[in-house]
Symmetry: D2
């Protein structure tokens, strides 16, 4: 593929942790040409000045942050990644789409199909509800076909990714009760974003483990939307996020109830075999989902820095519950890596391009 | 109180993390005289040589580790703390008790009332089942009176402490269904003990979050025993421990179902008021339990280095579940501090002596 | 000692890390009554609300933060600890001293004897140069007598403490050349203070090691002042601080040249014996200095949470240099604990009161 | 390049941290075919079983660890990386070389030119001194030409890499006195290797900073050999390593004395200009050395996970010293990445192949 075939690509909001990872992935991407990166804070500085760690990569000394001007972005790029706060993202997406620029949005602005649910969870009217029908939820393992055609991809949140991928196949196969799902999730501190707040200082986090944001974390809205679609009925779940002193990673432990009671070892054995079969049917061949059978349990250190989600499961004969545990890098498969996976689909590249 | 009134006290197995914390607490304890510390590995060395950090405390340069000989211990001490692996502890406790030495055991050996349950969870016959009836489960907030009189106290495990204290009042008050309890717990790495294994190396833990030991962790046996006593019926729970890169601390997030469904805001309000009332009834005046009402959520950094357990709770109107979250230092309130609390009760000292 | 004998004590600026540790130490201090704590940010809130971890200590639910008003502080307290930024501290110290309140200042405002040096290092005129002659540098092992009588104690910085205590005896004994001292120091992140800046976010520090503030860090001024006094000549040193991802602790590695060359094993042996002798003469009997002879090397984990500085030394026969290594908790012996040590001296308490 | 052109490559000792990183780098390398990986501990297991994090890479489920048999290795591979303990490495290198297999050794066995120095620092006779003349010290920026032709490359240690690259140009240009070099270095815990020892447990390292191995660390021997070659005279340096709680990274702060005294601002300005010029002459165009001029100081977080060494320098007008600070990933540029850099040179690939 010659230079002429490189896709002119922009990153709007390139100074947060997801933006930084997008820069990292796209600078190395074989088919991307990074033509614009924006940041209010760093406008005018080069990539190398803001992120010394990229200084040895090609273009890092020339590429400059600019103000997030949609005209400029649309002029320079065929596609733009938006790594902006929710609410702000929409303001950028609308003009970009109007100017024919495809958009991969990492915020929550276009993940929900219902403007009412958006208002319930985000506390204000949706700024551009007319786009909700058009946007595609960017979970490639579930919506691969639609992503390929999409002008606007709403890339999923990190917690949702860790919960949806292992649970959707079970709901689709009617193997679990949709009404009793509990997801207990642990997140590294990069999940809080790159913002100067006391709560996220090193000293405040280093020997700390704490729950937060319960019982109605905003991510619930998209999790429940997608689980409801998979179950073909309204699903309401329990979700508790926790902040843990690692840089990266999400670990979700998900408590599930089999669709019908399992009375004896034989029925439990049959059930487990079904679960295993459905998981393999869903994910064998998927490059970024690792189905752990055997004795291994997930560990975030096995996925950090990669676009892979790994998960395992156990059936507890004492309680009858199925426990599914998943691990993911919140910034890669939980954000920027997954967005690049959509990008690869949108432009007809191999899905793993730049991600292995 | 003159020196003559100091209690001659031994620590058997003083080189692990719990043993080390016992040394720390008892060296500073106003009524304790540390007359013997044992360790196979360090026999012959002084406390100051093995733990330089204690070198500036009184006696650290004279006090020597000796072999764990029960005759010697019984001769030197009125009471012995045992910080030994399960199975080993029993071998030491039997001769000590026979010689009239009171015993506070930090292992699992005497926590269970049933030798059969012990065998089920620990994989071998109980070595001294005749002592099970006599031992007292050393959770002072629950068994204060019995501990005062006990010759043998079985100090609770760290996970059990974090789960039992917030759940027992709810079970006693019949406020929750006993059959649907899920406890999702996070532990610092000191919980794995001071042993040279690859899994607990710095590099293997530092950017890692991982579940382990499910679905049938050994601590389940004592948790279920005590919850069953509180509920007056057999209780089986779900329990998932996780290893988290902090030195100390346990955070338990516990999912509970109210005893009867709560249909509207009013019934939820009444229920919450009851929960709050029962928690305050149970723990107001307790020096080592912090009931967090208001907006605060538990954080292990608020309890590390102290003998305090703190907990908070939320009722989720969307799912109807009650979520209780507790934080505790696994080595202090979850082990050595709680053992000293029992010691204070056994010898008539103020319960907070040496613990504030 | 009855309640009537408690010293009414204030902490001005009680919400930073040093202020928080002062609260911790003074709440437990047998002879202190904490009558005022101030914080602009938290005025009106109780101690328990701001620092949940203190909520179980006596008075934490009643003691309220107030605005830093000198009239009020002087009215309520006999002595005030100032844990304020440099420059701000002086504004508070002046009125407090005028009203007869003794002051222990943890800032840099009164550490230097020369207003000119202050201006050189801090970039502005000293706000109250008339107090410089009167203030006592609060390093108890060096200035014990003067501290006892002082109305104004300037408690040393954390880096200076780690460097001065091991080096002063060598300079006084003329065992090293004063002109070739190099101090390479590592600090935990609490040394940067409790302020919301990107550089000190968990994610920015967690897998980071970095030098900063060289070649002319402000602490140099007080280090050189005190070394010059010990050497009886002007001493200029090399000093490089580094930021390391631990919560607490300073480790200083100090490179020294013996006063005269050591040509053979015998002269090296004699020299080492002298060094050892002088260190023991200086610090045997000091409760808060641990002279590590034998094989042990300092480790911050042995001093964190204590008021102890520990140090060791090695003579390198290949280069002829003497290397001294010291470890200290930057917030305790490097700040608040050392300030309480001065407080004990000022009020005639045992020097270790509240510090063991 | 077709599959037929892939170089058959073995890793002997693939289960330690350097071995693991070699696996990681070579699995992704465009011109390498990993045909053998050995490990006594894991012989018979697949790569995916031992390192779940590689399970999603091609071949990880088929590639099996074998016993470290030189016949087998030589049969399967054209070149072997040895990531073995010193002493053991030599036993493997000798037969491999005899069978015509090229060797890139990551141990210390072939780094020294003098068997006598080896014995002095490693405590036993060199097992195969006849190979010392033939081996090439694998620092590509210094020995690029020789590496290209080498049958046996001795890849440098991590500390040496961090010190040699910034100091050699200064010695060659006669800009510093060779006799007064002090290197104060900080290493992440992976530097201690993947071995189950108490000292490297998470809890023993997490809130710890400590010097070790002074004053005569083994790495001194190769550092001094190479500095002596650059200076054209015998160089003896001061070197103090420290263990710091990060997974990866080395930060070296190096204290240097200019070749002649700098009396005034003008001479200092000229000197600094010379230093800057020589650094740029040495490293402009080098893909893996980042010369930080401007205000930036090195930070290990900017190099971790990359093959880049970055360094900066300051001249202190108060002391006349030049301070150079460098940061490197101890496992990549300090070990496995640098070894792959040599590999690229040896086989005529672009030097950056598989390393960007």
């Amino acid at each position: 593929m010659t230079e002429a075939h490189l896709i002119k690509t922009a990153i709007v909001g390139a100074s947060g942790y997801s933006g930084e990872e997008l820069v990292h992935l796209l600078l190395k991407h074989p088919h991307a040409e990074l033509t614009a990166i924006t940041s209010r804070r760093y406008a005018g500085l080069t990539l190398a000045q803001v992120f010394p760690k990229f200084a040895s990569l090609p273009h890092a000394r020339e590429l400059k942050f600019s103000e997030p001007n949609p005209d400029l972005v649309a002029q320079k790029a065929t596609v733009a990644f938006l790594a902006l706060p929710h609410g702000v993202s929409s303001e950028m997406a609308v003009p970009l789409l109007e100017k024919g620029c495809r958009v991969i949005d990492l915020s929550a602005d276009f993940r929900l199909k219902s403007a009412a649910v958006y208002k319930e969870f985000y506390g204000h009217d949706h700024p551009s509800p007319h786009l909700l029908a058009q946007s595609v939820y960017g979970l490639p393992e579930i919506y691969r076909g639609k992503i390929t055609q999409a002008a606007l991809v709403a890339s999923p949140g990190c917690y949702p990714t860790s919960i949806l991928l292992p649970v959707i196949p079970l709901l689709r196969a009617r193997l679990i009760q949709p009404s009793t799902i509990i997801a207990d999730s642990l997140s590294g501190v990069s999940g809080a974003g790159r913002k100067a707040e006391l709560d996220y200082l090193f000293v405040e986090c280093h020997e700390s483990m704490r729950p937060y944001g319960l019982p109605k974390h905003r991510h619930l809205s998209e999790i429940e939307q997608e689980l409801s679609l998979a179950a073909d009925q309204t699903v309401v779940i329990q979700f508790t996020p926790h902040l843990i002193p690692v840089n990266r990673g999400i670990l979700s432990t998900i408590y599930l109830t089999p669709a019908s009671p399992l009375e004896d070892d034989e029925s439990r054995g049959r059930y487990l075999a079904q679960v295993t079969e459905y998981f393999h049917m869903a994910y064998d061949g998927e490059p970024f989902v690792r189905v752990l059978d055997g004795k291994a349990l997930p560990d975030t250190k096995n996925v950090v820095g990669t676009n892979v989600l790994e998960f395992a499961w156990r059936l507890d004969p004492r309680t009858g519950r199925l426990i599914v545990m998943s691990a993911v890098d919140n910034i890669v498969k939980g954000a920027s890596g997954q967005a690049v996976q959509s990008y690869n689909l949108m432009f007809g590249f191999p899905e793993t391009a730049g991600l292995l």
